[in-house]
Amino acid sequence: MSGRGDAIVIRGRPFHGPAAKSRRSDGRLTTALIFLPPALLLFTIFVVMPIGEAAWFSGFNWNGFGRPTRWIGLDNYRFVFDSRGFGIAFRNNLLIIAVSLLIQLPLALALALTLAERFRGAVLLRMLFFLPYVLAEVATGLIFSFIYDGDYGLLASIFRSFGAEAPHLLASTQTSMLAILIVIVWKYFGFHMMLFIAALQSMDPNLVEAARIDGASRWQVLRHVVIPLLYPTIRLSVFFAVIGSLQLFDLVMPLTRGGPADSSNTMVSFLYNNGISRMRVGFGSAIGVILFVICVTFAVTYKRWFMRDE
């Protein structure tokens, strides 16, 4: 957001003399003084203060009742890093990011390339693939917990029709994460597909045509014309996918609650299970602060390195 403001100033410079510039910045200052306070106030109350509060709570051994009184310094952070569960949760988050980037986005891109064309049923198929994204996360989780049910679920009947015993995917430490990853890909690929379709449709068809006339093969067109033109959208998609993966919580709870034995916790569900359910608000706040630092670091570096032009 701030990047855009800078760009205007830089681009504007050669066209205005010094006098014009100062008049303009005066106007900008007034505008800022009038329009900034309400936004700044809201931002402070709903973003800055809660984060500050969490940081403050993370220094206490506190169960959430009354006011915090027992100051223990950085001990909560030590407890977080010492716990086996947080390590697993962190690894799971990395796994989700990897699957989102390596499976979900290519899948979304492939489908987008097919469905951006105009043919009968394209709109219907787009709608169909987008549908999972519209479903509420908790509802999705519940639906899949029925599908995965090893006794009565859809998966069980499929296995049974082949004469095999159905696995209880959600009940084993080896498969619980796999089950969740499948749901994640199923639920969110449609969203990325839509982003890609929008980008493809706003692309200038003359460029593709020109490349075809120059004798480029379909693959070469895709590789050297279409995908480079999609870069801004891909970068945005990656950004959404990573941040979404880091915040994943509401799919995990109805499916496994992070279990068995912490095997399918994400950092946020780990926060909930250990901070809120155990009423250790200080400990939970420490996880929250760690998560916040990870997200902000990612967002800032990513924006600086990959999204500088937008």
């Binding site: 169960n63 009742f65 006794d151 009940a171 068995p260 034995a261 155990r278 608000v281």
Partner: protein
Amino acid sequence: MRFVTRLALAAAGLTLAAGAAAAQTTVRWLHIEQNPAQVKIWEDVVRRFQEKNPGVKVEMQYLENEAYKAKVPTLLQSRDRPHIMYSWAGGVLKAQVEAGALADITAGVGSFKDNLAPGAVQAFVVGGKLYGLPYNVSQVGFMYNKDLFAKAGVDGTAIKSWDDFLAAVKKIKAAGITPIAVGGQDKWPLHFYWTHLAVRLGGKPAFEAALKGEGGGFEGETFQKSGELMKQLVDLEPFQNGFLGFKNQQALGYFGDGKAAMNLAISHHSATQRALAADKKGVPEDKLGWFDFPVPAGAKGNPSDTLGGVNGWLVTEGAPKEAVEFIKFFVSDEVQRELAKQNFIIPVFKGSDAALSAPFMQNVAKNIAASGYHQNFYDQDLGPSVGRVVNDATAEIAGGSMTPKQAAKAIQDAYKQGN
């Protein structure tokens, strides 16, 4: 919405202007009961209370068990907190009292409390003050399906020792029947095994010593041994397939559907399994057996010791005095008998247990009355910060991802970290 508010204000204004005596008092009552048959009786109790006390409205609110536990700390800080809410007493109650979230109702209840079982009332006393009233006590034990036991050739009434129990599990499994249904995802149904073994092995002295940190605390001999015995059971693979993915409600339904022979249950689950079975009938009364938790060799606890819960109602700070009146009515002889007649509860009102109609519940009531040491559920008694770790660690013993030793250490570490 605004229109409704305005209308309400106008109505309130009119009432005041008319000087009508019947000002509305609303009592918000938050419960976690999931059995519709029992809730129906409660609704009727509310109706009768409202008839007797014109101008008082009791509003019933419901939250699911796990959701309730997670929401309470936040809820208590809100201005819209319920006036009456569910409690298992124990460490959570103590934390709530320390935070000043609850109302001292010693005076409001007065001598009424002498009508109730003193042990159960005592669970709601913190620092000499009364904060709530019990309405139900329960015992943890094995309920079993008599038909399935007969099919496997096992006599449930003959299971006394831990070895008897393990032998029975083996025999049932050999007969091709799932021995035990358990809600492993909820974890607390698994913690009953470890906890009850500790109650059997060490009795009250071991628990009190652990609280003081003596003899290695929860890492001490009694608790390690509990884990090892639990491991003996787990190694027989006695639970239904995928038990770590089952919630307790599903497991009770599974038992109710006759798909497993046993369930380590809280006594009132004998009614719940019926509501949760696919046919809503479950295992009928005459097919439902009960045996007390088996006694391992070398146990120091008294065989009559019980593990179980005390359930009651707390009154929150700032609640209208009608809230106390309502819970007094709720645990009156009349209502207690009504609930006992349907076998939903083991009543706490002295003499109300005569109304229990099922031999199953009569037996449980007798056990609790004869018990010299009734241990409250660990996950409630130790408070959430330690209790949840007991749940997690014992579920990991069941899942094979922790050794009994690691589990005991995890619990002791949590206890030392405290909260």
